[in-house]
């Protein structure tokens, strides 16, 4: 039992950071609540450190097989807290001396914990608990600003989250009935003889909740509104961290319970195709950078879903994990640039940015071209490996579609990049947000580093 608990040290650090921060915040005067953010950052760093230390151990399941420690979990344990750390930095100016500064950090940590638990759960009941943990704090975060747009965003999230969460519960119930258990291992043998149509329907229902977390079509309707309506740090968080947990959970669910189920792969392939295509089409004529990034996030999930759809290929898991890490860094970098220029919401506000702050403009170029998948950025390696896995699994049509979508996506990213280098200035100078700038530089650098250092990282992912 103790050994089982010790296996969860990284998760426990996140929990300790959340609860400790909350308690500490109760005793601190308002102008000293930043201490809680330091505590949260320390907890995140400890979680990352312990996760790295634990990653060398063998794969194993703990708590009677309900929670699995393997490369998927190890990666998410590192990537999700790292992303949250960057979000904390982006959020600094907007929550500084805010009367709910403590709560902000606590909610972030709890959602991160939920995302990590999603990635590790190998039992439907744990999955549902993790889903709720990754969702409920998010509702509060979305409405954190208590303004009209934030409230609308929160409401949309709650409605979608509740609806798709219930669907997920129903699906889990049916799977329990069909497979005679909730543990993935039990389901794998139990579902082998179950009627395929019923299994497919139940899996679709369970996927509904995870699709909501990942922000993929058709669970994507909240993404643009929430990304536009909430604070920029929360928007960055919403489009990054829950996705990591959701996609990892989808991958585990599909590979462990339904290793030979052709329907599941087809369903995921169709969802992938729909996400990448619809996300791209909607992003085409967006003038609002946040909505553009939101739809870009939807299309990116499409490429990411290629990996679970191609779960049979040997490269599928490394590809997914690599792409997740690359996407998290790159996406946060783009959001950080938006955060660095408060009030610059439209594409035209970025006209001539290169003259005013060349480093910021170059970071944005690196991140946007990174999202396109230009080498040598991290997402390129992710895309390359995902494409390889897809072709290897016989999903040539989907890979070709993904390639076409990639070309199409260049169009709207360039609509943002092109004005950066114009001479005329339209954007207001305004007081910049230093933290956003730092995160943008760091993320752009990290994106290049993760791309160039691809060999080292891929070697770590079995």
């Amino acid at each position: 039992m103790i050994r089982n608990v010790l296996a969860l040290l990284p998760e426990l650090w996140l929990l300790a950071g959340a609860i400790g921060g909350l308690l500490l915040g109760l005793w601190l005067p308002r102008n000293r609540q930043w201490v809680v953010h330091v505590v949260a950052a320390v907890a995140l760093l400890l979680a990352i450190g312990y996760a790295i230390a634990a990653a060398t151990g063998p794969d194993r399941a703990v708590f009677t097989g309900t929670y699995t420690l393997d490369a998927t979990l190890h990666t998410v344990r590192v990537v999700a807290p790292t992303a949250t750390l960057l979000v904390l930095a982006i959020a600094r100016p907007s929550v500084h001396n805010h009367h709910r500064e403590t709560e902000f950090a606590t909610l972030l940590l709890l959602t991160t914990l939920g995302a990590v638990l999603l990635a590790g759960s190998s039992d439907l009941l744990v999955l549902i608990a993790a889903y709720l943990l990754a969702s409920v704090p998010l509702y509060a975060l979305a409405g954190f600003g208590k303004d009209a747009t934030g409230t609308e965003a929160a409401l949309k999230l709650v409605l979608f989250g509740a609806f798709l969460g219930i669907t997920m519960l129903a699906g889990a119930t049916v799977l329990y009935g069909l497979g005679g258990g909730t543990s993935y291992e039990v389901l794998r043998s139990g579902l082998a003889d179950a009627p395929p149509a019923a299994v497919a329907a139940a899996v679709v229902a369970v996927l509904a909740g995870l699709i909501f977390k990942a922000g993929a079509v058709p669970g994507h309707f909240w993404v643009p509104d929430a990304t536009e309506g909430t604070g920029i740090a929360v928007a960055a968080f919403l489009t990054t961290v829950p996705k990591i947990g959701g996609l990892a959970a989808i991958f585990r669910l599909v590979t462990v319970t339904l290793p030979t189920h052709a329907d599941a792969a087809l369903i995921l392939a169709i969802l992938a195709a729909a996400s990448m295509t619809l996300g791209n089409l909607a992003a085409f004529w967006q003038d609002n950078v946040r909505r553009l990034l939101a739809y870009s996030a939807v299309s990116q999930v499409g490429y990411l879903l290629l990996a679970p759809a191609a779960a049979g290929a040997t490269l599928a898991r490394p590809a997914l994990l690599y792409y997740l890490a690359g996407y998290a860094v790159t996406n946060l970098g783009a959001f950080a640039v938006v955060a660095a220029r408060p009030g610059a919401e439209r594409l035209t506000d970025y006209t001539g940015l290169f003259r005013r702050s060349p480093a910021l403009a170059l970071s944005l170029v690196v991140c946007l071209l990174g999202l396109v998948g230009t080498p040598p950025t991290a997402v390129f390696v992710g895309k390359l490996t995902v494409f390889v896995a897809g072709l290897d699994a016989g999903l040539a049509w989907l890979v070709v579609l993904a390639a076409i979508n990639t070309v199409a996506s260049v169009f709207y990213y360039l609509r943002w990049i092109s004005p950066l280098f114009q001479n005329t200035e339209h954007g207001q100078a305004g007081a910049g947000n230093r933290w956003g700038g730092y995160v943008a530089y760091a993320a752009a650098g990290l994106s290049l580093l993760v791309g160039v250092g691809g060999g080292v990282l891929l070697a770590l992912l079995p």
């Binding site: 230009t374 040598p376 072709l391 360039l414 060999g455 891929l458 992912l461």
Partner: protein, 497 residues
């Protein structure tokens, strides 16, 4: 050593970008200095190039070993002349750009970045490395056109990016197909050349060849994938068009001889006639459309389509084994590579000269000018030399290239070769017409231009060496052909396996 040559420009570019408060003049001279050093380094490499076939200056470091990607560079007889041509052309463009005044720091950094992508691509012996430089060259050229072009340049830049990016993704899919077919999986060009993974799989081989061909044909460009080229060339700044035509187009043709032919020999032999047909169509279409142009720069752009057509014809006939001896095939491939070098020098020079029109009078429209030889004799003289060189007059490098292509192709494809020779006639006609209209007769200029000044020193110093080199190759070609023939012989053997 080769790695230093590849990355020297971009490192210098980053340093210049990061050094604050450098005056523009210093930056411009730094560009000249770095590109000159690069050329010297390439000449050192050339001096050290041995007589044997195979790769020299090889370096291979595992990059992503779990997916068979390594940093693998090396030069053979095909790559070295193109690297040398790249270094020469960049130096010429650096000298020409001594008069650039707009956002000099970014311009200098971007040109140096482009030089690294070009040299790196020609040196790459790994498909992913090749793809990386291929993609980054598109990004770099996009910024050159969008940032320093004129008239409708943003639109042209976007079109260029989207169109060639489609090509690069098709290429990537083809590369992944090769990777998956190879056992063990690898992206290494040398290993794939040795193992020819798709020779036993006709359908897969055809599909991969299709993907790779579409990718490279867009970049080359071959008819019918050429529509991005005229706007991109016309709206780009002079140095940008020279580099686009001189260096970036070669990435496509080089890809055929470096990847498509050696790695997919069976598929190449089977579909080789497609390249012959596309080549002849490109030759004739490019020449005829160029004949119809009134815009000088657009005309040069279309002659590029024509010149790239000869290359396609040559590499197409090199795939015909039956009734075609190895010597003829080697002659054709040698001609194709010589044409790549020759086109880079001559068309690069012509695009730089075209920039003079825009600089003096803001228009490329040939009907606006007449009798320029009177006030601009050096300009007229160099343009005439460039035109004659481009149409394949004996004594210039273009003649050496096209003569070899025709001689090598005639035996296997007499009809196609005869049709392609007609292309020379048309180009001769169009260049003579253009020269006559613009430079001879009574002087006439656009109303708002008082006088048409002759070439300035920087312009002359940039263009004259390019044409001199074309002349040198035309008169004393052995130093170039000796190198190319070794590489071409290897390709011919590889295709015939």
């Amino acid at each position: 050593m080769l790695t230093v040559v590849v990355f020297l420009p971009v490192v210098a570019g980053v340093l210049l970008l990061a050094t604050p408060r450098l005056p523009d003049a210093v930056l411009r001279w730094c560009l000249v200095a770095v590109t000159a050093v690069e050329l010297v380094l390439v000449m050192v490499l050339w001096a050290d190039f041995p007589g044997a076939a195979g790769y020299r200056f090889e370096a291979r470091v595992p990059w992503m070993p779990s997916i068979g990607v390594s940093y693998h560079v090396g030069l053979d007889g095909l790559a070295l002349p193109l690297v040398a041509m790249t270094a020469v052309l960049f130096l010429a463009c650096a000298v020409y750009s001594l008069r650039e005044t707009r956002r000099v720091r970014a311009y200098v950094a971007l040109l140096l970045f482009l030089e690294t992508t070009a040299v790196g691509l020609f040196a790459a012996l790994d498909l992913i490395l090749f793809f990386l430089f291929f993609d980054l060259s598109i990004v770099g050229m996009y910024f050159v056109i969008a940032g320093w072009g004129h008239r409708d340049h943003r639109r042209a830049a976007l079109q260029f990016f989207l169109y060639t990016f489609i090509g690069s993704l098709a290429l990537l899919l083809g590369f992944i197909g090769l990777y998956l077919a190879a056992d063990p999986h690898t992206f290494d060009i040398a290993d794939l050349t040795a193992s020819r993974p798709l020779d036993g799989a006709p359908l897969a081989g055809a599909l991969v060849l299709l993907a790779v061909t579409v990718g490279l044909a867009i970049k080359t460009p071959l008819v019918p994938f050429h529509t991005w080229l005229p706007p991109a060339h016309t709206e780009a700044p002079a140095a940008g068009s020279a580099l686009l035509a001189g260096v970036l187009l070669k990435m496509g043709t080089y890809g055929f001889v470096r990847i498509a032919m050696p790695v997919l020999p069976a598929a190449w032999r089977q579909y080789t006639v497609v390249f012959v047909v596309v080549g002849v169509v490109s030759v004739l279409y490019g020449a005829l459309v160029a004949l119809a142009q009134t815009d000088f720069k657009r005309m040069i752009a279309y002659t590029s389509v024509n010149h790239m057509g000869y290359i396609a014809l040559a590499i197409g006939t090199a795939g015909i084994i039956a009734g075609n001896d190895a010597q003829a095939r080697q002659l054709a491939v040698t001609g194709a590579v010589t044409q790549m070098v020759s086109h880079g020098l001559i068309t690069g020079a012509l695009f730089l000269l075209a920039g003079v029109f825009y600089d003096r009078a803001r228009t490329y429209d040939m009907s606006s000018y007449s009798g320029l030889a009177g006030t601009a004799p050096r300009f007229a003289g160099l343009t005439a030399v460039g035109a004659f060189a481009s149409l394949g007059l004996p004594g210039f490098s273009g003649f050496i290239a096209e003569f070899q292509i025709f001689t090598g192709s005639l035996g296997a494809q007499p009809v196609a070769t005869a049709l392609a020779v007609l292309g020379i006639l048309v180009t001769a006609a169009l260049f003579l017409l253009a020269l006559q209209r613009v430079f001879l007769g009574q002087q006439r200029l656009p109303a708002y231009v008082p006088t048409f000044g002759d070439l300035r020193v920087a312009e002359f110093v940039a263009v004259a060496p390019l044409l001199s080199l074309a002349l040198l190759i035309g008169v004393l070609p052995r130093f170039l052909l000796d190198t190319i023939e070794r590489g071409a012989g290897a390709v011919v053997e590889l295709v015939a396996r």
